[in-house]
Symmetry: C2
DNA sequence: CCATGAACACGCTGTTCATCG
DNA sequence: CGATGAACAGCGTGTTCATGG
């Protein structure tokens, strides 16, 4: 919703949200697992989001009506209850992905220009 | 100095500082002018840093011993006093530029991978 | 102990206010 | 009014604490 007159770079929360959506489309995991996957994915970039940010991102996605919760008993474990997430509204997913594409491209271009200006 | 175990993207302040250094190497302007140039440069990316961030960045650069102040009477104007900035320590400039190169490349790569992962 | 989630604290950044010529 | 700078406020994010199985 909110259009920003002036923003430097994309906020971490928005970044995590689009990444979580994208992951949820492929495989249903639970919060902690998503965190592990993301940390592993971005290890070489030294980016290690903490668990709170993941949960807050997931919470917002549910609040936005994009994802839905699905409680489940963790396989192989005694009685550990975890929360899986499924896509709830594919139209909203499409819209959000489109919006974030614009934003990520903007940031990518901004950084690229800076690197060009300063180091070339 | 501070090594961060986990950072998402470069902070605006660091971004402005390296940009200001780079500009100060080419032409000596004063705070407000630097802001105008930067805004103009990044207009197409919708990035419009406010004057406070510019001044705080310049202040930090002086505190770091990288830039030096040089008060001056604005040309053509009645008695407007402005502050110009000159490079004080070229070694520190080199070091800072090198450090920021690493950081900017990191962010650029991180965003690139995300765009790749999500949209390709 | 593992996963989830809430509460709390802090740092970065934007907005507003103050000064000076 | 143009430039500089300080004070203040809000928000995003990291750290810590709490709950449940």
């Amino acid at each position: 919703m909110g259009e920003h007159k002036s923003r430097f770079l994309v906020k971490q929360r928005a970044f995590l949200k689009i990444y979580l959506i994208s992951m949820a489309e492929k495989e249903q995991l639970y919060g902690k697992k998503y965190q592990e996957v993301i940390i592993n994915k971005f290890k070489k970039y030294g980016y290690k989001p903490n668990h709170s940010e993941i949960y807050k991102s997931l919470y917002e996605l549910i609040d936005d009506g994009i994802l839905a919760r699905k409680e489940k008993v963790k396989e192989g474990m005694k009685y550990q209850k975890v929360v899986n997430y499924i896509i709830k509204d594919t139209d909203k997913v499409k819209l959000y992905k489109k919006q974030l594409k614009v934003e990520l491209d903007r940031c990518y271009g901004l950084l690229g220009q800076a690197i060009q200006d300063i180091y070339k």
